[in-house]
């Protein structure tokens, strides 16, 4: 999965470092196991050497392991810090989001995501954002815990009822990105997906305008029906 946001670039790099560290550990242990079994399989006449390790060997081993752990820690802190940085909106991005990120309230509910845009338009399932623009999703939940996860754009975050969590990303390319909710949330959890459409700023403006008029028209129609005494 190619990263398409500055934050996921950093996550991707750190993921590779983690992969290398894990591989080193796994290969080292398993090679040592195979070596020991290969070389010291009991044979007739062989005498086991009754040796025990002294304290110094243990300290050396522990020191080596500590250095390894500290190195991973330092690298992780550096890259995690970079991944948390809020990028600034680029030249191709939405002009109104230059000074502060475009805030979109994102609500998890069983089993759908709702996105509320700044102009009071909203959409379900599909999030439309402008390209090259810093977007901040304020994650909330109305029922149980959900996790918003579109791995190409941002690290995943939980939407916990009663708390607000934040996801920040800046999509670098127009296109459609897919995601799936990542915390078990009941019956239809497996079908709780989302889609992020990254479009040009103009298309974004058109979308939220159209969305708002559509919603208004639908509301007016329902209100009209109720006033006429019909049950919609």
């Amino acid at each position: 999965m190619a990263p398409h946001s500055p934050g996921t670039d950093q996550i991707d790099t750190l993921l590779w470092i983690g992969f290398v560290a894990a591989t080193i550990v796994i290969v080292a242990i398993n090679v040592a196991l195979i070596y020991a079994v290969h070389c010291y399989r009991g044979s007739r006449g062989a005498e086991p050497r009754q040796i025990r390790g002294g304290r110094r060997t243990q300290f050396r081993a522990a020191a080596g392991l500590t250095v390894f752990a500290v190195a991973i820690f330092v690298v992780s802190v550096i890259y995690t810090g970079k991944a948390r940085e809020t990028p600034t909106t680029g030249p191709a991005g939405l002009a109104s989001a230059r000074s502060a990120p475009l805030k979109i309230e994102t609500t998890g509910q069983q089993w759908l995501w709702r996105y509320d845009y700044p102009n009071e338009a909203f959409s379900y399932y599909k999030l439309v954002v402008p390209v090259d623009t810093t977007v901040e999703l304020d994650l909330v939940s109305t029922d149980v815990i959900h996790t918003w996860d579109v791995p190409q754009l941002a690290g995943k975050r939980d939407a916990v009822p009663g708390k607000t969590n934040h996801v920040v990303f800046r999509a670098d390319e127009e296109g459609v990105y897919h995601g799936q909710a990542a915390t078990f949330s009941g019956q239809a959890y497996g079908a709780m997906r989302t889609e992020v459409d990254v479009v040009s700023p103009q298309e974004y403006e058109d979308f939220i305008k159209r969305q708002k008029t559509d919603i208004q028209a639908a509301q007016d129609r329902v209100v009209g029906l109720i006033e006429k005494g019909e049950v919609p």
């Binding site: 999965m1 996921t8 996550i11 750190l14 470092i17 983690g18 992969f19 560290a21 894990a22 591989t23 550990v25 796994i26 242990i29 196991l33 070389c39 010291y40 009991g42 086991p48 050497r49 040796i51 025990r52 390790g53 060997t57 243990q58 522990a62 390894f68 752990a69 991973i72 820690f73 690298v75 992780s76 802190v77 890259y79 995690t80 991944a83 948390r84 029922d143 149980v144 815990i145 996790t147 996860d149 791995p151 941002a154 690290g155 995943k156 975050r157 939980d158 916990v160 009822p161 009663g162 708390k163 969590n165 909710a181 990542a182 078990f184 949330s185 009941g186 239809a188 959890y189 497996g190």
Partner: protein, 559 residues
């Protein structure tokens, strides 16, 4: 207790009762431990069946073999069965049977408490599966509030889950109390802590660990039951409750249990490798000290499971410090286990084979966990099948491979018979192939395609179809291997080769007792002079035999 005057062991002949009543009413640690081990292995079988059903559903994309509700019930039952009814009771069953023998005790300090513990475990298991009479839990492996609250799951499944695991956990806590008291007060003369076998150390560490994490889980479960049945608001948002509270409490327990399972396995392996390499453990103090460190640091790393939650970045770094710090004690234990083999003469019998498999599987699981503890990486990998695979490698490595190593090693002590070697080898290699084929594809699906955990289906076109099909096939291979060992145990129970009291030339005191041991364990409390008391006993017997032979020779008339 250990004075010079002889103890009264039996007064009068005991009444003869049917065997099952005798076992069910016995407070003897060996009867209790044996029932727990048998129960745990039975639930291993059930957990495997549940896992297979879930894998069948996930064999092809958008499968409709199981309905979402059935899948979620299997998921919830699988989690509870694998952890509460298999892995933890297997650990405590082995500890309860063996640790008193290993420290030369002639019984336990609080036998009735342990017996109640066993019955609470059985009651918990019954309640969980009685859930089938109405509706089992649908709340997942860890029933995160508020999903587990009445508003979202109004049937009684979650209540059954909570009551079942609460009863079982209370049982483990009682057994842990007895083990702590026994290991503290009833060791044989000379059995200082520096001479206590590593597996008995593991028993003490895990018992203390259970005394810390068990009550946390019991508190969380009580709060959940109050929320659901008595209008409580502990975890209900909006009325002052905190959904994150359940996460904290339950993860403290689950993370501690994870460590408990690994400490048990490493403790058993640290007994097995020296015996089959004919060499003492490379450095005892380093291994036992590291196991203590794993229990403490590991449990403090509970927030590693919450790196995507709305908690401060400082807490995330705290979790990362703790989980990365685990590299040192885990690394040291594995270093010492491998160093013990270097220079030895390895006798590749089933217990050693399963031990090496366990180390290998645990290394894959823990190695992958390193990347899961790196905060930004967790934002990618958390709750993907990559996490599933890492957890399963570590815990199947610990509880199934490690548990089977212990089973093969101590089976002669438990039953007086040896497990069949051919079937054991066949089972081992099937399991080794199975675990790789089953879980390596899930690593790929999680890392490359972000497939999420616990979902009842995945969609075609997401690039994970092949991985999931292979994983399903692998799970069946793994299940076949597990089944072979269970069959082997059942067959060997009555038909295995008869074993002596010291089947493997072990160095610890359980091999001084008969196989299976008498109710009072030892006729004479053994006198312990080193950390290898059984070796001392063997040497003393050999010396005495030589002396007697020499004396006999010297008194012979010279021809």
């Amino acid at each position: 207790m250990n004075g010079t005057s002889p103890e009264v062991v039996v007064d009068g002949f005991p009444r003869r009762r049917p065997r099952w009543i005798a076992i069910a009413t016995s407070a003897d640690h060996k009867d209790v431990g044996r029932v727990m081990i048998v129960g745990a292995l039975g639930f291993l079988f059930i957990a495997v069946v549940e896992l297979l059903l879930m894998r069948l559903q996930l064999a092809v994309p958008e499968n409709s073999l199981l309905t979402p509700v059935t899948f979620n019930r299997m998921l919830s039952l699988y989690g509870a069965t694998a952890i509460f009814l298999f892995a933890i009771p297997l650990a405590f069953g082995l500890f309860y049977y063996l640790a008193p023998l290993q420290v030369g005790a002639r019984g336990t300090a609080l036998p009735r408490l342990g017996q109640i513990g066993l019955w609470l475990y059985i009651a918990g298991a019954t309640v969980l599966y009685a859930g089938f009479l109405f509706t089992p839990s649908e709340a997942g492996v860890n029933p995160l509030a508020p999903l587990s609250e009445l508003a979202f799951l109004p049937n009684n499944g979650v209540d059954a889950w909570a009551a079942a695991n609460g009863l079982a956990t209370l049982g483990f806590v009682l057994i842990a109390i007895n083990l702590v008291a026994t290991l503290r007060r009833m060791r044989a003369p000379g059995m200082a802590w520096r001479r206590v076998p590593v597996f008995a150390w593991a028993a003490a560490i895990c018992s203390w660990l259970m005394l810390v994490i068990g009550p946390v889980m019991l508190a969380a479960i009580s709060m959940l039951l109050i929320d659901r049945n008595f209008d409580g608001i502990f975890f209900a948002d909006g009325s002052g409750g905190a959904p994150l509270l359940w996460e904290h409490l339950s993860w403290i327990f689950y993370t501690g249990a994870y460590m408990l399972i690994l400490i048990t396995a490493l403790g058993a392996i640290a007994e097995i490798i020296p015996v089959f390499a004919h060499k003492p453990l490379f450095n005892r103090a380093a291994v036992t000290g590291s196991l203590v460190a794993i229990a403490v640091i590991g449990t403090l790393a509970w927030m590693q499971n919450m790196l995507t939650s709305p908690i401060g970045i400082g807490w995330m770094y705290f979790a990362m410090v703790m989980s990365l710090a685990l590299i040192v004690p885990f690394g040291l234990v594995i270093f010492n286990l491998i160093a013990t083999m270097i220079g030895g003469t390895l006798q590749m019998r089933a217990p050693l084979l399963f031990s090496l498999g366990a180390i290998s599987a645990i290394s894959i699981g823990l190695g992958s966990e390193i990347s899961h503890s790196m905060v930004a990486v967790a934002w990618r990998l958390h709750n993907t099948t990559d996490a599933t695979a890492a957890t399963h490698f570590a815990l199947i490595g610990g509880s199934v491979f490690g548990g089977f190593a212990a089973l093969h090693y101590w089976f002669p002590k438990l039953t007086g018979r040896t497990m069949g070697e051919t079937l054991a080898r066949l089972s081992f290699w099937t399991m080794a192939i199975g675990i790789l084929v089953a879980f390596v594809p899930l690593f790929l699906a999680g890392t490359d395609h972000g497939q999420v955990v616990d979902a009842y289906k995945f969609f075609s076109g997401t690039g994970v179809s092949a991985e999931n099909l292979i994983a399903t096939i692998g799970t069946f291979i793994l299940a076949t291997g597990i089944l072979l060992t269970l069959i082997n145990a059942i067959l060997s129970r009555t038909n295995g080769a008869r074993a002596g009291h010291d089947q493997w030339g072990g160095n610890t005191l359980e091999w001084f007792a008969l196989s299976p041991p008498e109710p009072h364990n030892f006729d004479v409390p053994p006198d312990v002079r080193s950390d290898q008391p059984m070796r001392d006993i063997r040497e003393a017997i050999a010396n005495r035999t030589r002396r007697d032979e020499r004396a006999a020779r010297e008194t012979q008339p010279v021809a």
